[in-house]
């Protein structure tokens, strides 16, 4: 155990003392996964609301697809996005392959089903008559949605955290569609793969700790929001 700690201490020295690129890679990681999470929330929460509050034919089938997609291997998503975005692919004219934009698209596709799934679950956990009650009490449509969202806050923030956690720790899709380019698309997970294959295990470990620390910081912030005025 002390060896591991020693290793970590040395690793921090390595990171601090050497390439300044680490800070850039860390910031890039948060920006890409943050943007993808925000998009996933913007699309996923309303979709989840619609699925949770309405009844339509094939609804169970849709939920089944979403639940499956929640566990979709990111590398498969990456491969599909890669095939769409390469120059010879149907969206090749966008010239997005091996860019941060391509990474945001892939991560958005991975995170959205997770956000939708958790949103549906958290809204369905509310008392089923709550919307009617709010309507009776004179709340308008938007106000009803807002009040429901507040009631489901615990679950909705879990949706955000699960989405963000799923993509910031993801490596396959980011490597495939981003290309792990040192100065534009290398993120913490793909940097760890590179350092490991170079035999720079200490540096890889230090990057891993940094990734955990970042993930912890973001989730802690969300948890503070989630738990506010609840204790």
């Amino acid at each position: 155990m002390s060896e591991l700690l020693d290793g970590m201490r040395q690793s921090w020295g390595l990171l601090a003392g050497s390439r300044s690129g680490v800070a850039v890679i860390a910031a890039r990681t948060v920006l890409i996964s943050g943007a993808a999470t925000i998009l996933a929330v913007l699309i996923g929460v309303p979709s989840g609301y619609a699925i949770a509050r309405t009844r339509f034919r094939g609804r169970t089938l849709v939920l089944g697809f979403i639940n499956t997609a929640m566990g979709m291997p990111p590398v498969v998503v990456g491969l599909v996005v890669w095939l769409l975005l390469v120059r010879s692919g149907p969206l090749g004219y966008l010239d997005l392959i091996y860019t941060r934009g391509a990474m945001v698209i892939a991560q958005f596709l991975i995170a959205t089903p997770i956000v939708v799934g958790f949103t549906v679950a958290s809204l369905q956990a509310l008392p089923p008559r709550l919307p009617d009650l709010l309507a009776v009490l004179g709340a308008g449509r938007l106000r009803t949605i807002w009040l429901l969202a507040r009631e489901a806050k615990l679950g909705l923030l879990v949706a955000v955290m699960a989405g963000f956690g799923g993509i910031i720790s993801e490596v396959g899709a980011s490597m495939t569609v981003g290309g792990n380019l040192e100065r534009s698309t290398r993120v913490l997970t793909t940097a760890i793969v590179t350092e490991t294959s170079r035999g720079e295990v200490e540096r890889a470990l230090a990057l891993g700790v940094l990734l955990l620390a970042l993930s912890f910081a973001v989730n802690l912030t969300l948890t503070v929001i989630q738990q506010r005025r609840r204790a």
């Binding site: 392959i97 290309g179 380019l181 040192e182 793909t190 590179t194 035999g199």
Partner: protein, 277 residues
């Protein structure tokens, strides 16, 4: 991932080589320490069985990095080595570990780039000129993974007097040759690759060869026997038989023809034949 696997293979190879050396070895078996490239290309799968059949001598092939192969020679753990690092080899020849060296073959690195050649590399007289043209006018995709190819690329920049870190349009993938060629293809950029990998992937790439043939791009393979006067238990007759086999006209022809049908050009060019003008 590949690095780890390769690392484990190296460890395994060295350990098995050491156990081979430690135990009494069968009279008719030699240890060949060589590089992964000869193994990965499939060339040894053609040559070794043929040698074993013709000579009745078994060959234990230990495919490791050139450095590791040379270290096996310096500890007397191999009988014969086939390597491609002339500068590094000199030290071992000087120390008396390697004797009776012969050039066997070469392959080469090539610069590939978009067919329209935006940097105007194609007219270059020498590799330094080509590298300067790329530096000035186009993107370059580097392995950036500390591999032999990456080291060769850095040496080319140094020889051209260009600081690769200063190039805005040079990117490092930190990945293998195939992935790096994909990125270069999509980004319409240039890349340094070994000819074999490029030929194997050429069909699905838009890249064409922009520069080739400079002597510094050559990868020259020499075969040596490990000095029996310096190391114990070297199977010198078997080692010499293997060297003689590799440089024989028939086998030199086989090396030149290896996969030539498949790729339309040679992967390895024989060097042991008397040169024709």
């Amino acid at each position: 991932m590949g690095g780890i696997v390769r690392g484990l293979c190296c460890v395994f190879a060295v350990v098995s080589a050491l156990t081979t050396a430690a135990h009494a070895r069968p009279q008719n078996a030699i240890v060949l320490a060589t590089t992964t490239s000869t193994q990965d290309s499939g060339l040894l799968d053609v040559l070794v069985p043929r040698f074993e059949k013709e000579s009745g001598i078994e060959v234990k092939v230990i495919a490791v990095g050139t450095g590791a192969a040379l270290r096996m020679a310096s500890t007397g753990d191999a009988d014969v080595v086939l390597v491609h690092a002339p500068d590094a080899e000199k030290k071992y020849v000087g120390d008396g570990d390697l004797v009776e060296g012969r050039p066997v073959m070469h392959n080469d690195f090539v610069i590939v780039g978009p067919p329209e050649d935006p940097a105007g590399v194609r007219g270059s007289k020498a590799i330094a000129e080509a590298m300067k043209a790329i530096a000035a006018r186009a993107g370059f995709i580097s392995r950036g993974d500390d591999s032999g190819t990456h080291k060769q690329e850095l040496a080319l920049w140094a020889a051209a007097g260009v600081d690769p870190r200063s190039l805005a349009k040079r990117e490092e993938t930190g990945q293998g040759m195939g992935a790096t060629l994909n990125v270069a293809d999509q980004k319409r950029a240039y890349a340094l690759t070994d000819r074999g990998t490029y030929l194997a992937l050429r069909k699905r790439l838009g890249l064409t060869i922009a520069f080739e043939g400079d002597p510094t791009l050559l990868n020259i393979y020499h075969v040596y026997v490990v000095n029996p006067a310096k190391h114990k238990n070297i199977r010198i007759e078997g080692a010499r038989a293997f060297v003689a086999f590799l440089v024989s006209p028939v086998i030199q022809q086989v090396i030149g023809d290896f996969k030539r049908q498949e790729y339309g050009q040679s992967l390895f060019f024989p060097d042991a034949l008397p040169r024709r003008q």
